[in-house]
């Protein structure tokens, strides 16, 4: 995010609370002649979840300026989609946010379906919703454990991996792919759910709920965890919205906005009863807490869907060769990491003319230069962890 503007002209920089007094800083520098240190965090730093690079200017351990450098994993998906047919593209977009691949497929498939005027059968919609929520649980559950790792507790991280495995098994059982299901088809889903899946799903959801209680005990209730996360990396609601921060990161700042409820209706969310959790604090702790509640809420949604799963076919009638009529459509969904959208332009061919991908993490990390100023190095890691981005979702 090497911005062309100087950082001081970006919104919010002039009102930063608790900022260092530049004059006092200058005086100190003259007296002690302490030069700043430039620290490269990443692209191989463990806290950056992959290949995000943070160029951090430090005074001691205090961050004076932080500049995220992205692009180390740019794969050119927007361009690649122009050379693929519609059914082929789901393979690519699976790999944007690789932890919740299924949720990535949904908005794109919806866009194609809307352009073609096809409606997937109700059972297919239910299965899609189920798998979307499962991938949300798989993604966020990993975060719940990994946040422990960011603040130094190793054990919750392994619990996160352990219990996520149950959910991945479910996704694999239904779709055949653990990470990249590629299960959505234009007009429905590839297969029906396998026999016995629903029973296993209920058992796994029980495990996830138990695991959430464990996290509540080990991390949320821990004084050290609270000392490390409360009041660290506060995102004011308006500023967060101005930077395009979305999802749980924005809800943790008190913005009651969830595309599943507030957006254009998609999948079967209008049939479900769920609560959108918010927190007033906007700090790292709030982001953790909101995600913890959202995982429980997702489990509730999955159980509701299992109870009321519609019968019928899982595939609408679609032509053998899929040609999408000319037109443009914008579809956005609430993905585990935040708002994800596809702007699809079709000229009536077998592949799109242009696809613009709006991924959540890209906007979420754009607030980092503002957010990290004045924090200590350990807090940088806490904030990076609590924003929860996936590198594939930033670079695409």
């Amino acid at each position: 995010m090497t911005t062309t503007q100087p950082p001081s002209q970006l919104p919010g920089f002039e009102v930063e609370p608790g900022s260092l007094n530049p004059l006092a800083d200058a005086r100190l520098a003259v007296e002690l002649d302490t030069g700043d240190m430039i620290l490269n965090m990443g692209p191989q730093h463990p806290a950056t979840h992959g290949t995000l690079r943070l160029v951090v200017r430090l005074d001691g351990e205090r961050v004076i300026a932080a500049d995220p450098v992205i692009g180390y994993m740019h794969r050119g998906y927007e361009k690649l989609t122009e050379f693929r047919t519609y059914p082929q593209i789901t393979t690519l977009i699976n790999r944007i946010d690789w932890l919740s691949s299924f949720a990535n497929e949904v908005p794109f498939i919806h866009a194609a379906e809307q352009l073609m005027g096809i409606e997937a059968p109700q059972r297919a919609q239910h299965i899609r919703t189920l798998l979307t929520e499962l991938s949300r649980i798989a993604t966020i559950y990993l975060f719940l454990g990994e946040m422990g790792l960011q603040v130094g507790a190793l054990t919750p991280a392994f619990w996160g991996f352990r219990d996520r495995e149950h959910v991945l098994n479910l996704i694999e059982g239904a779709t055949g792919g653990r990470f990249h299901p590629n299960f959505n088809r234009i007009g429905g889903v590839k297969d029906d759910l396998p026999w016995g899946w629903i029973v296993e799903c209920r058992a796994a959801m029980k495990r996830i709920l138990d695991g959430c209680d464990d996290f509540e005990d080990v991390l949320v209730g821990n004084e050290i965890f609270q000392a490390r996360t409360r009041g660290v990396g506060i995102i004011p609601a308006e500023l967060g919205a101005a930077y395009g921060v979305s999802g749980a990161n924005l809800r943790a700042s008190g913005v009651d906005w969830d595309l599943r409820r507030d957006g254009k209706p998609y999948l079967s969310y209008n049939e479900l009863d769920f609560k959108v959790w918010t927190h007033q604090d906007g700090d790292s702790f709030a982001r953790y807490w909101v995600r913890l509640q959202e995982t429980r809420e997702s489990v509730r949604m999955v159980l509701q869907l299992l109870d009321g799963l519609a019968s019928g076919p899982v595939m609408a009638k679609v032509p053998r060769i899929i040609k999408v009529p000319a037109g443009e459509v914008w579809v956005e969904t609430e993905n585990p990491l935040g708002q994800m959208g596809y702007y699809v332009v079709s000229k009536g061919a077998i592949g799109p003319f242009r696809v613009k991908i709006r991924s959540a993490s890209f906007s979420n990390v754009s607030i980092l230069p503002w957010l990290l100023r004045g924090l200590y190095v350990p807090d940088v890691v806490t904030v990076l962890g609590s924003l929860y981005f996936i590198l594939g979702d930033i670079d695409r």
Binding site: G152, T155, I224, R228, V381
Partner: protein, 346 residues
């Protein structure tokens, strides 16, 4: 054991010194292996629902750590081009040396002690802080910013934590009336609680505040979570040892776990009565001493590693305020209370 000691006395001063040196040098890797196997490989795996290595050696993978050690021996010894080569090479040795020096004064039996110094406790705590010199050397010589940050954190941590560590021990010293570790053990062995001599008088009952302080401060001294900021894997990658590989890294590992072994032994000696069983003296005590000490030491090490695997890490400034605002006042109050009670009760 007493036979060995008699034998050693017969074969002269130089040979005795050699035997003692070799014995202590053998204890450090032994302690590191035992703690590493029991807690790092088994207990941690159990807590984290991991299997841990189970194959090497047949029984529960006991050979794994030895295998890991052998692996480190084969690794290339990498030294950064910009490194201060001599200091870089010496740093791991300084750390292991400080561990070595602690073991000199820890008694494992009535006569099984290398040197029964009159100021044993303070000697042990003083030499234990030598390791921070090694850490600073490693951090500075690595010419790596992460290593430097880690080393400076370690130095700041040492200043904050040496004081509570000492204050925690002062209560024990007041109660025992001696600083010699052997004297402290004897005081606990021969002591009594309200006239009952069955379990002697382990100072943990009267000095429980000191015991808690000692464990917290030792945790910081050993750079274990919740005070592992100098290492801080998620922030500074591995802090001061980020540039070390192969045998030199193994030295850091042995130093870390060997010091944990030493501190557990120290805590067992100060608060749980060390090697002593009340009423057991002479040759039996010589034989049982090391075993008794080992059992007590493992119990304390269990506590230390339990905390290590459970808690998140504090921030450096939070550690400083915890040390100066909480631990040191508590330690001072404990000393005053112990002194008053000592004079009042006798």
């Amino acid at each position: 054991m007493s036979v060995l000691a008699t034998l050693a006395l017969d074969i002269g001063w130089g040979s005795t010194l050699a035997i003692k040196t070799i014995l202590v040098l053998a204890i450090i890797p032994f302690g590191a292996l035992v703690l590493g196997y029991t807690f790092l490989l088994k207990m941690m795996s159990h807590m984290q629902s991991r299997l841990g290595p189970m194959d090497p050696g047949g029984f529960h993978g006991w050979f794994q750590l030895v295998g890991d050690g052998l692996k480190f021996l084969q690794k290339e010894d990498i030294m950064p081009a910009e490194a201060d080569r001599r200091v870089f090479a010496m740093a791991p040795a300084v750390i292991v040396m400080s561990t070595f020096l602690i073991f000199l004064v820890i008694p494992a039996g009535p006569r099984t002690i290398v040197e029964d110094l009159d100021v044993g406790v303070f000697y042990a705590l003083a030499v234990s802080s030598l390791s921070v010199i090694g850490v600073l050397m490693a951090g500075w010589a690595s010419s790596n910013k992460f290593a430097l940050l880690g080393a400076l954190r370690a130095a700041g941590q040492l200043i904050a934590y040496e004081l509570p560590l000492l204050l925690a021990v002062v209560g024990v010293v007041i109660q025992a009336g001696t600083m010699s570790l052997q004297g402290i053990v004897t005081a606990q062995q021969d002591g009594s609680i309200f006239g009952i001599t069955a379990i002697g008088n382990p100072f943990i009952f009267t000095q429980f505040i000191g015991f808690a302080l000692f464990l917290v401060a030792a945790q910081a001294e050993l750079t274990q979570p919740p005070f592992d900021m100098p290492v801080a894997e998620s922030e500074l990658i591995s802090g001061y040892m980020v540039e070390y590989s192969g045998f030199r890294f193994l030295f850091f590992f042995i130093g870390e776990f060997g010091t944990a072994f030493a501190f557990a032994a120290l805590a067992a000696t100060l608060f749980l009565g060390g090697w002593a069983i009340p009423g057991v003296h002479g040759a039996t005590a010589e034989l049982l001493g090391p075993i008794v000490l080992f059992v007590k030491l493992m119990a304390i090490a269990f506590l230390m590693f339990w905390v290590r695997f459970t808690y998140p890490r504090l921030r450096e400034d939070q550690l400083q305020s915890l040390a100066w605002k909480v631990l040191i006042p508590i330690g001072l109050i404990n000393i005053v209370a112990t002194g008053i009670l000592k004079v009042a009760v006798g």
